[in-house]
Assembly symmetry: D2
Homo-oligomer: 142 residues x 4
């Protein structure tokens, strides 16, 4: 698991003062970019120098508590499955609850194929990426 | 089913020239707003005058074909389930395929609770809203 | 002048229920894309087939009245200046005022260079584009 | 001047791989939120607990170099003018140039009125806010 910290910004909340439901996928992707920060040039290096992309084939978000303007929150990224040319990222988005516990706000299950860009053809997961994914593999909560 | 037409705009595509995966949820919500266009003041009237909101408890997107800059596309909104204080919207996002067929790009299953705003307390679905949902109820594809 | 009609969507308003200031530039660009709708493939055709881009060198927005969730509004696009490799778009964003008059919400002055993509080198404005710009040239309000 | 550090994310670049021109205003606002981080509850505390808002009356961006996916960059926020019920923020957005110098990417001049929310009525700048603005007042580059 890799933890990423963030604060809810003004342009991320809706008229009800809470984060709009679509934005949780942006948050997940942001955490995924951070997940690859240790690679040369980071996630951008994967995309731009190595032409490796992770287009989504499925994404599911379960919302359990709201995030409001100014809330500090965390995204815990783990890897739920590794295939030959695909993988599943899991993001747990949480903030501190009233009693100091970790209050789950959303969980995302993000299934990607690994692709050669710009051709968008499937790619056997390169070994260094596979090693990094494996290091964060975690049994899926059931 | 209610059909909504759109074109992919410049600020909706990523470096690969395709619509970013999170934005499909924005598209779904946009179609949902259109779905309520016949109500007084439209969707905005529900939110602002009647204090009725539809916060998501779950959203799942299955991606099957990309949408690219300038692509005309359609969102077919239907209702997959109606509960006492919740409902499930289904969005089929598609464009014309090379051979004139309808090419599915994404399907979204969007589970909402119906709430009183701003208290965010559950609300038994008001009868006019229930009637509109019922008129578009459709058996879920399996 | 070319008029473009729109309604304020849920994901475009902030916690105060009004359109966030940055989004007016998205609105302007959206109207600019519509401005080129008559070209083959529309604005997307310019970008993707002809490799013509319009990167901004300056953009100024003057805000005079707010836009709120659900407001129908209009963007009137005109061309304020045409140079050799640059042009200035003007967007007037307005909605119906309480008394049926046109209530100005914002004015944008958007200065672009015309470029060859992806090289991003300046391009003498192609003649068909110049003709279209010229047809919408309008003396700048002072 | 207060410096804020950031990296360009995937969902912030366009098909040309550079940050979309509208997003610079989002960046400016993000830096402005950070500028008020020292206040109780930060910028969110101003908005939510004290009902103080900063709606824009004018925003001008001058673009001088692009920001690309993955680029680390900085936003230097200063205050260019302080009135009775208004102020002008200046944002210099820059990244490291090829030779280690500071390469200016954009400058923003952001004129706000200070308002009571939600009434949106002008507010004499509260003294603690005025003191913070004054501490970062800087002669405007000409």
């Amino acid at each position: 698991m890799k933890r990423y910290a963030r604060t809810v910004r003004f342009d991320e909340v809706d008229i009800a003062g809470v984060v709009f439901f679509a934005r949780y996928l942006n948050y997940g992707h942001e955490a995924m970019e951070d997940f690859f920060a240790g690679f040369e040039g980071g996630y951008a290096g994967l995309v731009k120098s190595r032409g490796v992309g992770f287009p989504a084939v499925n994404a599911e978000v379960t919302y359990t508590a709201s995030l409001r303007l100014g809330d500090p929150f965390f995204i815990d990224t783990s890897v739920l499955h590794i295939g030959n040319t695909s993988c599943v990222f899991g993001y747990r988005i949480w903030r501190s609850g009233p009693d100091g516990t970790e209050l789950d706000c959303a969980r995302i299950r993000h299934t990607c194929v690994v692709c050669n860009l710009p051709a968008m053809t499937k790619l056997a997961i390169p070994s260094d990426i596979r090693a990094h994914l494996s290091a964060h593999l975690q049994a899926e909560a059931t």
